[in-house]
Symmetry: C2
Subunit: 491 residues, 2 copies
């Protein structure tokens, strides 16, 4: 297989598509829009899952599992949710196949038609709130803090590996609370957990903000988002957390008895991140040579490659490396020793570069004599000869340094691509020539937002939470505005 | 909610159904045959998953993920597999819904009919082997050792929580090998992993054996099974591992280039366990008072309940317990301190008994004076007053003892229910009056097996692997037989 990658500068989109496949993260399947997540890609996803799951549990959430299929009528119960979701869905209409009369093929058994069609979950609010009604009786049952790891299906027309697929893996949190404030706090808390994960594990800086009405989740009163910036200057929504008010409680009749004996509807949130984060990870750090992975999410943090001419040399190197491995593993470093004799060192170097392994050690006969190794960093493509002394400690320190460096590099890049503009000509120019986030005044109406979107393809990514009040005039209509919002073209 | 359970002796089946719901493991959903796994049940499943996943990785397997939906035509490719599987399946025929003309309901959009129907995976051999064709070129790519954690759907007509549900969670291993022997070894190795897990974590003794042709997986050349025995004397197939020969390699054209440059079809296995194990766990150990969980899979291994009359007493107890908790957690004990003031100690005792928490500590003012606690074991329902001295060490030792005791108790029970019989009258009598496994000679034909099944509902659970050759005559036909097999009624 040719490992040669298209360069980012030539065609960013093509570079991404090629890289995801060549680095063995994922590939298309025989089913339109559905991907196969390959072992190396899945190993990264598992590391993401493990950290997120730990964070959810530390904030008091428990996992549960709800049915894949949802009766069609459930979608009718919450009107705005229905409008937003129940359209592009996979519909199960039959429950049996049979062999055709000529015995040559399998056909759908028309006698096995379901009375009510079932929808493969595009998200689980409806089926989960149908259970919550049974689980919640009194204030003692609240807050109810549930998370689910699952697959969902949305019949997307244009799909791209990880970024937009007809089936994807995700987690969806669903919580119920006594008061409005408590639910709002929960929604913001989970946005914070997502931001923490994005920045401290993915090394991907994000802006925390609130969505405008146009971009809100179907059924939510407010949607909180974390927005990241990719290397091509396009924004990517990396996670959302929704304050659902009492919409689902009312739709599914979920009431609780208060401490004073009154009956009240509960308040709700939901929040989710998906395998889309894999796409964000790739597009935030990787380069023309392949993946670049932050050490905290790299399945292999360090690879060791022996350089040898004779079997005796390999044996001597093996012996040295085995000792090193013990030390490294004791320090918690995820290390792989690739002593395969079927592949040359140069091939291995290229392979692990492509796969984004943060650190590489090469060790040959001269290193054995000199008590040295060659240590190479993937992030800055540097190489140096260092002593074997305290190698585990050095590796550990370097991995932390790489993690920090990736974050800071991405942060600088992102910060350079936030541009304040004050008129629409400049808005269009910046969008076209520079890209990134445009910080501009907006009059607060959906109409203006729609018009800007139609003219430029840019949407309001968010109203940043930390934005300060500032009098101004809308970049499009000239109407009054009290604060800036962030526009961008987005994935 | 009344926590009163039906007794096992009255109605074992009813006892099981009630227990699963009352202990908060799972419940039925609004979708026929599909269950909701509640947080407490899911926490047990997560512990099972974690151990199995570790075991799979230690034996060289990697996780990956393949599409939920499989094109109908894929099932045609492997004839015997198709016969066995493609019948009772959920069929996706459309990919869009729309609002009806009167605006009152959502209906299926007939313009959005799929050209080829998609089947929700009942198992993933076909879609996975479609990928394997692309992944395998040379002997260097072998063995390919893949596992997937996923949900599957089989349209079962009669469903029971965990034991038989239209959707269930499972893992499915799929491997490809250079030689027949290597694949056979893999199939047996994974049967061994399952047996290890069942006995050492679930404390559930199992018999390792091979299935007869009648009971084999559709598409397999041989199926290896682990068979457990439930408290009502019925057997339960707890996990299976299949040697698939070259059937799928041929159906999906998966060839590799050997070291000598020849093209050969690969050899395959697949193996799986599911949330059915949750049902097996419940039915192996639990009693008339509720769940009994083996410590290694219990989400809470030890619960501490304070006994107090005044706030001052509770505060003094809290202080003591906080210290104890630090010590217990340092020893790796999963401990919960239930100091809720909304529930009485008696209520809590009953609750944790129902939920099968292996150990309970009660601590009151007199215990503070005497430096004691009351320690209660769930498995034998014992209570004793012990000193607080070295409490963590005592708990740790006791948890191991409970784990062993549960296994040994289940083993004695199982061994007492293996009965050798040598004629069909006795066969029917034992089956009716005693139940359990019947060890009997069988002439090796499917016809005899079918006839016995029709007459008695007993099937051949397996040909035990450790069985010894023994001349005899078939319990039904009187024909010659060279070894005994195990019959039982089964779940």
């Amino acid at each position: 297989m040719s490992k040669k990658l298209t360069k980012r500068g030539e065609d960013y989109s093509k570079w991404y598509n090629e890289l995801v496949v060549k680095a063995d993260l994922a590939e298309n399947s025989g089913v339109r829009g559905m991907m196969v997540i390959k072992p190396y890609g899945y190993a990264i996803w598992e590391k993401m899952q493990a950290e997120l799951d730990r964070m959810f549990k530390e904030t008091g959430h428990e996992n549960a599992y709800f049915p894949l299929l949802i009766p069609k009528s459930y979608f009718n119960k919450e009107a705005s949710h229905d409008d937003g979701f129940a359209k592009e869905c996979a519909v199960v209409t039959h429950y049996r196949l049979k062999t055709s009369e000529d015995g040559k093929e399998i056909i759908v058994d028309e006698n096995a038609k379901l009375e009510e069609e079932l929808i493969i979950r595009p998200t689980s609010e409806t089926i989960i709130w149908d259970s919550f009604r049974k689980w919640i009786q009194s204030y003692r049952d609240l807050p109810l803090l549930i998370n689910q790891w699952s697959n969902v299906v949305r019949w997307e027309m244009r799909t791209r590996l990880f970024l937009r697929t007809a089936e994807f893996l995700w987690q969806e949190g669903h919580t119920a609370h006594e008061t409005k404030n408590e639910a709002l706090e929960e929604a913001l808390k989970m946005q914070g957990v997502y931001a923490d994960f994005a920045e401290n594990f993915m090394a991907m800086p994000v802006i925390k903000g609130e969505k405008t009405e146009n971009e809100r989740f179907a059924g939510a009163l407010s949607t909180y988002t974390i927005e990241a910036l990719m290397q091509d200057g396009k924004a990517l929504q990396a996670g959302t957390s929704h304050f659902l008010g009492q919409n689902f409680a009312k739709a599914f009749d979920v009431k609780y008895t208060t401490n004073e004996g009154k009956q009240e509807f509960v308040w709700a949130t939901s929040w989710g991140v998906s395998t889309r984060l894999m796409g964000a990870l790739v597009m935030t750090h990787s380069d023309d040579f392949g993946l670049v992975l932050p050490p905290k999410l790299a399945p292999i943090q360090l690879v060791i490659v022996p350089i040898y001419k004779s079997d005796e040399q390999l044996e001597a190197i093996n012996e040295k490396v085995e000792k090193m491995m013990v030390e490294l593993k004791a320090k918690g470093v995820s290390v792989k020793y690739d002593k395969r004799t079927t592949h040359k060192p140069g091939w291995k170097f290229a392979e692990y570069e492509l796969k984004g392994v943060p650190l590489r050690i090469a060790i040959g006969p001269r290193d054995l004599e000199n008590n040295t190794i060659e240590l190479a960093r993937r992030d800055i493509l540097s190489k140096e000869i260092v002593s074997q002394e305290n190698i585990a400690e050095k590796v550990k320190t370097l991995l932390e340094k790489i993690q920090d460096n990736l974050f800071n590099k991405a942060l600088d890049f992102r910060n350079n691509l936030i541009t304040e503009v004050d008129n629409f000509e400049e808005f269009k120019e910046v969008l076209k020539d520079k890209g990134g986030f445009i910080s501009a005044h907006w009059d607060g109406t959906s109409e203006t937002e729609d018009q800007i979107k139609n003219l430029t393809k840019a949407t309001i990514r968010c109203i940043p939470l930390d934005t300060k009040d500032e009098e101004g005039i809308c970049v499009f209509t000239g109407n009054k505005s009290s604060r800036r919002v962030l526009f961008a073209k987005a994935y």
